[in-house]
Symmetry: C2
Subunit: 157 residues, 2 copies
DNA sequence: GTTCCTGCAAATCCTTTGCAAGTTC
DNA sequence: GAACTTGCAAAGGATTTGCAGGAAC
C-alpha cells in the first residue's frame, strides 16, 4: 500500500535533497507520502491532520518547512487564497487556474490556452515579462447554486 | 484646493452614511479625501501615512474601518495581493485586472473583454455562477527588464 | 564529529475586536 | 441622551524564526 504512490515524485525529492546537501528524514517521507495520496488543494492544516494520523508527533512547523522544500523541488505549488494558502501537486501537471466556490469551498480547475495567449499578448504590448500569475474565479458552484434556488422556491412557492 | 476632488464620490459616501444611520466625522472626511487624491493602489500603510500628515491623531484602526465602509459604499475596492491588501478607487471605473512588477512594485492595469468572455463561457460550461475574480499577473515591467539586461551586459560585455 | 532537522515557544505581520471616552445626531 | 465613533491595547490567525536537543551523514 505504501510503496506505489508517486514513485517518480519521491525520486525527484530524493534527488533534490542530495543536490542541496539536505537530509532525508522520516518526517519528510511521511509528509510527502501523505501529500501525494491526498486530494488536491489542501491547506496546511488539512495536511497536518492527515500527517498526524500517521505520526502524531510531527509538528506543524515541519509541515510548513517541508512544503517549502516541495515547492522548491517542483513537486508542490502554492495556491494563495484569501485567508490561507493551499497546496497542490505540481509535478508534470499542466498549468491551470481555479474556480472557487464561496459556499462550499470546492475548488475546480480549468485551463484555457486562449486566455493564456491573450495574457501574453497584452503583456507583450506593454513590455511586461510574465513570471507567473494568479487567476482565481470566485462564485457559486452548480450544486450550491441549485441548492440555493431550491431553498428560495420553498420560501415563496 | 480641498473642495474639487471627488465631489460625486463624497456625495455617494454621504448618502451611504445616511441610509445606514451612520455618522459623519472629520476622520472619515479626511480619510476619504486623502484616498481620492492619492495615487491608485495604496496599502493601508500608505494611506495611513498620508492621512497622518494632515491629522496625526487619526489612528490605523480608523483607516481600516473607513476603508471597509468605502468598500461597502462602492467607492473602494480591495486588491488582495500576496502579503497585504491594497485599495483602489472603484466608483464608475470599468473592471480591470493587474500586472504587478516584482522588482519595483509598480502595478499596471489592463482590461480584456475577450478574457472576460472566455471566463464566462468556461464558467457556464460547468454551471458556475461567477461573483468575482482575481487575476493578477506577476513579472517584470519594461523598465525593470531593461535595467536588468543593461546590468547583464555590463557583466559580460 | 559535523551538519542538518525537529518541535517547541516566542516572535512577526496584518487585521480585527473590546472597551472607555468622546462625537454626532 | 441615545447611538455611533474613536484610539488604544489586546486579541486573532497564519506563518516564520531562535534555539537546544536529536538524527543523518
Amino acid at each position: 500500500m505504501k510503496s506505489t504512490v508517486g514513485r517518480e515524485e519521491k525520486e525527484v525529492f530524493g534527488a533534490y535533497l542530495s543536490k542541496n546537501h539536505l537530509k532525508r528524514s522520516e518526517q519528510r517521507e511521511v509528509i510527502l507520502d501523505t501529500f501525494l495520496r491526498s486530494d488536491r488543494h489542501l491547506s496546511v492544516d488539512d495536511l497536518l491532520q492527515m500527517v498526524q494520523k500517521r505520526r502524531p508527533d510531527i509538528g506543524r512547523t515541519t509541515v510548513y518547512r517541508t512544503l517549502k522544500l516541495l515547492q522548491s523541488a517542483g513537486l508542490a505549488q502554492e495556491l494563495a487564497l484569501d485567508g490561507q494558502s493551499r497546496f497542490e501537486r505540481d509535478y508534470k501537471r499542466e498549468h491551470h487556474d481555479h474556480f472557487i466556490c464561496k459556499s462550499c469551498g470546492a475548488i475546480f480547475e480549468f485551463t484555457s490556452p486562449d486566455i493564456e495567449r491573450l495574457q501574453d499578448e497584452i503583456a507583450a504590448d506593454i513590455g511586461f515579462a510574465i513570471e507567473g500569475h494568479r487567476h482565481q474565479i470566485y462564485g457559486s458552484c452548480r450544486s450550491c447554486t441549485s441548492r440555493a434556488s431550491r431553498a428560495e422556491a420553498r420560501r415563496s412557492p
